[in-house]
């Protein structure tokens, strides 16, 4: 009968494997975009969508700076790199299409609409009735130092309002000037040329990262061979993501190798056989493969974060195979089936409580947690089936030397909890831990800042800083979203916002901003500008100005017929203001979404306050949002932890009765409560990743306690031995993560280490409880 079930399970596992293989063949992609984990419970779907579009656009951006002392060399190299990237199909290079005459074209484009255009300063001056100052400025420019005007322009713009408007435009990247079709700047003795563009694919997909970075390296290296002294700086989410993934992989392999070697040594020393190791790996392998296959079937795709956490959570199943394998140390070894029978109740209860714990994560409305919950629950169930159905069949164990030094240690450890000799020591230890826990709790420190969680590549951070210093723009991924029924309304809202943002720049709260309304004033504002020009300048001062300038013909006056510039016209591709389209996100049904880009936000509160009371304007702060999201996840994880503890308890009560059932929850609960406190006592912080570790600590703790509760008499030592082994492997696989430089991983590992040690330490309390209860 067992053989039949084992065979059926084999078929099931093979089909899962087959499905997985088919998916891999079609190219399996894991998402690495943290934003993909965002909860879809946001109040405003339009805002969410606009936010996604803007954030995505930012994450696709790539900036490359090429520098060399020889101007000709840097131009040649930059042109070639830009050309190679543009023709690769991986990049959409925006600067390669930069026309030589762009600025002249911008001037020509605006010219017909000049009566509706005014710089903010001129607008203020005319509103205040200072037309004479503007007329004087025009004269001073004509007669001043060198000609700031040409004859032709003066005949159509005698007050030189156009040059004033054009210089007031917030042309992005102000330190760069256009020279020979390239954006360049001079820094000391080095000429830098900027190449910018967008990554075509998904910057958080591992294969895109690899292709992009390989191609980029090739393009750069091809120029390095020609110009060995060339300097190349690059910036973009895709590069950060790749460096992050590489570092994670590098670390994972180091930590992974250490933990694998440790585990192998441990099992070899304990069992003096390779088989327990192989079956344990088989159990984990089947668990992970089945989990992956079923999750892909259900979710279609998986996030890499869910995958990593899921695999960690499934790792617990090694405890079950160790429980089974350790039975060979029992006084009565018996047949494999008999051995299974002895541990079956323990591991089944362990699996049931753990699956409850993991499935609780499904109750949170976070896509990330859904994936983790399903993945780990499926994996754990598959691992349990494998232990129960396959392990006895694969077991070829016959005789084993009973001399086990570890058994002696296990015996002593048990004695610590069970003999009256250690009574006082026991109490003092628990009291000490509780006191330390309370002190630690008082120093409890929560940290959700996403910037702290990652370890950003320091070389890339330096490059980013250098680029920002060079081009004179500071990175700010915050921006305003403007939602309105139509462009005109949006532009008017932006004009209100602009008026409030200008003083903030003067106050140093913000370095700069770019709003569509600065390039294209609303029709209402254009009309007002035209009236101001007519009433304050042309009517009172034109005759005098014409005379003073000695113009050959009298310039035209602003009139009702003066054309009005529209956003639709200006943002057409191919027009010199085509770059505006990056600020115009979406044109949906009866709604438009604009973006107001921000540079160097120093005081986010002041900037947020600027938008208050203007309908349809929201500040978007992806980093802040993500930190808040981590905070939300952290709170949810803690709530779910409590909930899963509450859901596990009835199962234990059903098995052990009310008092004992509750008592079994005491050791894992102590571990879960004390672990974060002790971590904070040691100067650590509490993050979402610590909360996730606690979910695992609870499951592991309940497992250990259940194993102890299920054992009795002479088997106790064997159970403790198996628990010791389980704790050692858990420490080897999770504890080593504490060595990671990535704070998220480090915190996870550190809390796991503390939690596992505490769970292990307190586990025999469940044995003593059972004795008390039964006795």
């Amino acid at each position: 009968m067992m053989r039949l079930f084992a065979f059926l399970w084999l078929i099931a596992v093979l089909s899962a494997g087959g499905y997985l293989l088919a998916r891999v063949n079609h190219g399996l992609n894991f998402h690495t975009d943290l934003m993909a984990l965002l909860p879809r419970e946001d109040q405003n779907p339009a805002l969410q969508h606009a936010n996604d579009v803007a954030t995505r656009a930012l994450s696709h951006r790539v900036v490359i700076m090429v520098g060399h002392k020889d101007k000709a060399a840097v131009y040649a190299a930059a042109k070639e790199i830009a050309h190679q990237l543009a023709t690769s199909g991986l990049f959409d290079m925006t600067t390669s299409g930069f026309d030589k005459d762009r600025l002249r074209q911008i001037g020509t484009f605006y010219y017909p609409y000049r009566f509706g255009l005014l710089s903010d300063e001129d607008y203020d001056n005319l509103k205040a009735g200072h037309g004479q100052a503007i007329a004087g400025r025009a004269l001073s420019q004509v007669y001043g130092v060198v000609g700031l005007a040409n004859g032709q322009l003066l005949h159509s713009d005698p007050f030189l309002l156009m040059p004033s408007f054009l210089t007031s435009l917030p042309l992005p990247l102000s330190r760069l000037s256009l020279d020979d079709g390239m954006l360049s700047l001079q820094d000391k003795d080095t000429t830098w040329v900027m190449i910018a563009g967008q990554v075509e694919g998904e910057p958080f997909a591992l294969d895109v990262q690899k292709q992009v970075s390989d191609f980029f390296d090739r393009a750069v290296n091809s120029q390095r061979t020609i110009y060995p002294d060339i300097q190349v700086l690059h910036l973009g989410a895709v590069f950060f993501a790749k460096a992050g993934a590489e570092e994670a992989m590098g670390e994972t392999s180091t930590i992974g190798i250490a933990s694998t070697i440790g585990t192998i040594l441990l099992v070899m020393i304990m069992f003096r056989a390779i088989r327990p190791l192989i079956v344990s790996l088989l159990v984990i392998g089947v668990g992970i493969m089945t989990a992956l296959s079923i999750s892909l079937l259900i979710f279609g795709e998986l996030h890499v974060g869910a995958l990593l956490f899921g695999i960690s959570l499934i790792g617990v199943c090694v405890d079950y195979s160790l429980q089974y394998c350790s039975e060979v140390f029992s006084p009565h070894i018996g047949t494999p089936q008999e051995r299974l029978k002895r541990v079956l109740a323990g591991i089944t209860l362990g699996t049931a409580t753990t699956v409850i714990g993991y499935l609780t994560l499904y109750l949170a409305p976070f896509p990330g947690l859904h994936q983790i919950a399903l993945f780990s629950a499926v994996g754990l169930l598959a691992a349990w089936v494998t232990v129960v159905l396959w392990l006895p069949l694969l077991d070829r164990h016959t005789v084993l030397s009973r001399k086990q030094p570890m058994l002696t240690i296990a015996k002593e450890f048990l004695a610590f909890w069970e003999t009256s000799k250690y009574h006082r020591l026991r109490k003092s230890l628990v009291a000490l831990l509780v006191v330390l826990g309370i002190i630690g709790f008082l120093r409890f420190h929560i940290d959700d800042n996403v910037r702290h969680m990652q370890s950003l590549s320091s070389s890339l951070v330096t490059q980013q800083e250098t680029i920002q210093k060079l081009i004179g723009a500071s990175a700010s991924n915050q921006f305003f979203l403007v939602q309105a029924p139509d462009d005109e309304t949006a532009l008017q809202s932006e004009e209100k916002l602009t008026e409030r943002l200008r003083p903030l720049i003067a106050a140093g709260d913000l370095t700069g901003f770019q709003s569509p309304s600065q390039y294209i004033p609303s029709a209402a504002r254009q009309k007002e500008n035209r009236l101001l020009q007519g009433e304050q300048l042309y009517k009172p001062l034109l005759a005098q100005q014409t005379l003073k300038l000695d113009l050959a013909t009298t310039p035209a006056m602003p009139s009702e017929q003066s054309p009005v510039l529209t956003l639709a016209e200006a943002s057409k591709s191919g027009k010199p203001l085509g770059f505006l389209s990056t600020l115009l996100l979406d044109k949906g049904q009866g709604e438009v979404t604009h973006m107001v880009a921000l540079d160097g936000v120093v005081h986010p509160e002041a900037v947020t306050a600027a938008a208050e009371g203007i309908t349809g304007i929201h500040l978007v702060d992806p980093t802040g949002d993500f930190s808040r999201l981590l905070g939300k996840y952290r709170n949810r994880a803690i709530a779910l932890l409590a909930l899963s503890a509450a859901l596990m308890t009835p199962l234990l009560i059903w098995r052990y009765g009310f008092r004992k059932g509750l008592w079994i929850m005491v050791p894992p609960s102590l571990a879960v409560i004390l672990a974060p406190s002790l971590r904070c006592l040691a100067g650590g912080t509490f993050t979402f990743f610590d909360a996730m570790a606690l979910v695992l600590v609870l499951s592991i703790g309940v497992d250990y306690a259940v194993f102890c509760a299920e054992t009795s008499g002479k088997r106790k030592v064997v159970t403790i031995l198996a628990v010791t082994m389980a704790a050692c492997t858990a420490l080897l696989s999770f504890g080593l993560l504490a060595l990671s430089r990535v704070m998220a991983v480090h915190n996870f590992g550190a809390t796991m280490t503390t939690g596992i040690l505490l769970s292990f330490l307190f586990a025999p309390m469940a044995c003593s409880a059972s004795k008390k209860h039964q006795g």
């Binding site: 030589k100 600025l103 130092v145 060198v146 040409n150 054009l166 003073k548 000695d550």
Partner: protein, 206 residues
């Protein structure tokens, strides 16, 4: 367009002032803390205008501080340019302020200024071919843009001539407009700038 005006404006400094350096044997060497003061007469020919536009005034060049260009006729206008930017005022009221970060090229040119004052023509050789003629008593330098198709280059030629100091500068623009500058009463002083001059230089700081 504006860029062009700005460039035209900026290019003048190395051409009009900076050349008052020791590039030619007869030129006076100007130290970093020295101040050159003098008067100028400018004749500007713009297409579409009835006649040339003439102006005159005084100027101050202090390598450590900046440049003051004070037009007296026909309209009093003062322009102050320093490494931080440019400020133009009429009757004591600022009518234009351009911070250096808005026109980064200025910073570069301002840096070049020092080099040229010390007689280092190399700084200009990236953008111009430099041809010298004449003798110590009457030297002439002709600057021709290396590239004529560069829209950022506002001049078709610059001619500088002088003796101890620069005496004449002729700027020709591609569209046919031209400027002729004549410098008079030039004098070098090693005293620090006057209080009024200091005030003017400081007014540029944002």
């Amino acid at each position: 367009m504006t860029r062009h005006f700005l460039l035209a404006f900026l290019f003048l400094f190395p051409s009009s002032i900076a050349f008052a350096a020791n590039a030619n044997a007869g030129q006076v060497v100007m130290g970093n803390s020295d101040i050159l003061r003098g008067r100028f007469i400018e004749e500007r020919n713009l297409k579409g205008f009835n006649g040339p536009m003439n102006s005159e005034g005084h100027f101050v060049v202090a390598p450590e501080h900046g440049v003051i260009w004070g037009v007296e006729k026909p309209f009093p206008t003062t322009t102050v340019i320093t490494p931080s930017g440019l400020v133009q005022s009429v009757g004591g009221i600022n009518v234009m302020r351009l911070p250096a970060q808005k026109i980064p090229f200025m910073l570069h040119l301002y840096d070049m200024l020092g080099g040229v004052l010390a007689g280092n023509w190399k700084a200009l050789e990236t953008d111009f071919t430099v041809a010298r003629s004449g003798d110590d008593q009457n030297w002439q330098v002709l600057l021709l843009p290396r590239r004529t198709d560069n829209p950022a280059m506002p001049f078709s030629s610059i001619t500088v001539s002088g003796h101890q100091f620069v005496e004449n500068v002729v700027l020709l623009k591609p569209d046919g407009d031209s400027d002729t500058l004549t410098f008079l009463n030039e004098a070098l002083s090693s005293k620090p700038p006057s209080a009024a001059e200091k005030l003017a230089f400081n007014s540029v700081h944002p």
